[in-house]
């Protein structure tokens, strides 16, 4: 896939690596279950060794020895600063000390609203999913919300069946009107094809970087709503040998995530 030194990688690996790069060193982040666990751990082992990682069951600033299978398992408090309570972590976000929420998504719309609750009608759902878990809290209370999910039309939809977790709701001003804290909201979406942010004026999803070997048309084809495009559209840097080695050997040797 990559044209410079023939490094082979799959789409999942690229997505995890691209997502991990979004986390700055020394920032604070609450990490949700699944792909974010792999990306967070990779960030800690590469460019962000001082990343302050939190987990919603109370793990506070661990040094992850292996990727957690649950955001409440014992890896999440390994060599941590604190093993505390859920509300201790959530209240840190509520008072404005949490830079990033990092979550996965089942269904997402152009304003970054996420559905992880049901397909169909609420009273008679066709499919029941887990629900919010901590995702609504994280996306309501953290400053910037990162979402990592595969780019396909079933996930990127015109209208989500249920707004489990708030994005920009109906667009500009609606988070504020709903009463959500100022200075919070969706920030990036990292998929297996591209990286998106949100346009300042309309608060709609906008492509800012396309992964190597992918065209904008392909991203649009796999998205169920019209994407905006940045005037400064970039190509995502291909994974480095070092990133791939750490991801494969240290973060996810069992291939829980990258083998999907």
């Amino acid at each position: 896939m990559s044209n410079n030194c023939k490094i082979e990688y799959n789409k999942m690996e690229l997505m995890v690596i691209a997502a991990s790069r979004e986390l700055e060193d020394r920032s604070s982040v609450i990490i949700g279950t699944g792909v974010p666990c792999a990306a967070g751990m990779l960030a800690q082992k590469t460019h962000a060794p001082n990343l302050i990682i939190f987990f919603e069951a109370g793990g506070a600033s661990p040094i992850l020895p292996t990727m957690p299978v649950s955001v409440g398992d014992s890896r999440t408090s390994c060599k941590a600063i604190m093993a505390t309570t859920m509300l201790d972590v959530m209240e840190m976000a509520q008072r404005g000390q949490m830079d990033y929420a990092f979550i996965g998504g089942a269904q997402i719309d152009m304003y970054g609203n996420i559905n992880s609750t049901i397909v169909g009608d609420y009273k008679k759902p066709k499919v029941r999913f887990p629900g919010s878990g901590g995702a609504n809290d994280l996306a309501s209370l953290c400053k910037k919300t990162l979402v990592v999910t595969n780019n396909d039309k079933r996930r990127f939809v015109e209208k989500v069946d249920f707004i489990t977790t708030p994005g920009y709701l109906c667009g500009p001003g609606s988070r504020e009107k709903a009463g959500l804290p100022a200075g919070t909201g969706p920030y990036r979406v990292i998929t297996d094809m591209a990286i998106m942010d949100y346009d300042d004026k309309e608060k709609r999803m906008r492509v800012i970087s396309i992964h190597p070997g992918v065209t904008f048309e392909q991203v649009q084809e796999n998205t169920g709503f019209k994407l905006l495009v940045s005037s400064d559209l970039k190509e995502t840097k291909a994974p480095t040998k070092e990133e791939l080695k750490i991801l494969r050997e240290e973060v996810d040797p069992q291939r829980y995530i990258i083998g999907r």
Partner: protein, 334 residues
Amino acid sequence: MSMCMSTNIDNVTLSSGIGENFHPFNLTESRAKIEKKKFENKLTTVKEAVSKYVHEGSYLGTGGFGCNRIATALLHEIVRQGKKKLAFAGHTTTHDFQIMVAGECFDRCDAAYIVGLEARGLSKYARKYMESGKVKTTEWSNATLAWRYKAAAMGISFLPAKALLGTDTFKYSACKTIECPFTGEKYLAIPALAPDVSVIHVHKADIYGNCVIDGLNNSDSDLAKASKHVIVTCERIVASEEIRREPWKTAIPYWSVDAVIPVPYGSYPGNMEGEYFSDERHLAQWLEAEKDDATYKAFIKKYILDTKDFNEYLQLCGGIERMTQLRNEELLIK
């Protein structure tokens, strides 16, 4: 283009959720009913504790976090005793949820995280049960459900917070919005929740019910304070002197606890911090068994219904040999 083509604008200005509050909190009644538990020997058995404190219609809360530090022995016993029509708090419930579904024990559910096992995938049977129409649900998030416990623990009927606002999760919750009397700021108002009974697994307890959790508390100190009755299982019973020597470690004090039962490996197949890792093999077998009705029924019969107690279940799962492997995994010993 309409501003709101992708979503429902009503949610943004909605002032009250339409979800049912399955267990409304009444301060006067709660203060009258919540007993200060005695300083007495509370050692009992799993069988007796479940039969005494879990009743048809009870509201049940579970400690831990889905597959981590859960009171598996008590949950199995609730299934074996055929308890039905419970209301259940889905405060990140994963394997505990699967067990309650196996017994079809509940018909009302406060859902924050249900039917999934995080990175392990979704439970087919849990989904089927939730899609069957047999269960009434109200939506929450993990933090709002934890704040419900916190409010009851504080002895007040609600707490304000800043989550849920503007979403369908709010619409299908039993929350309202409220204005701060000081600043006029809009808040979510979260109703208190005081479960009738909660089941919590801890590392150590003395015979009076003073409990130490050597690791993540999740919401268990608040859950214990909020609940009318608390049944505790522990990895081991310790002398009361051990509690008094390091009193800052007490996560749950005796005045919140009704019953204590030592159950070594009591969180199995879940993880117990510092003790043993989750048995991913057994959890995968469980998910696999759910793919076929007959296999699933036989699986539940073998592992829960036909076992006389938790130790028999542990034996079926590989006994001390398997537990030793899981301890090595927990300690990252290769």
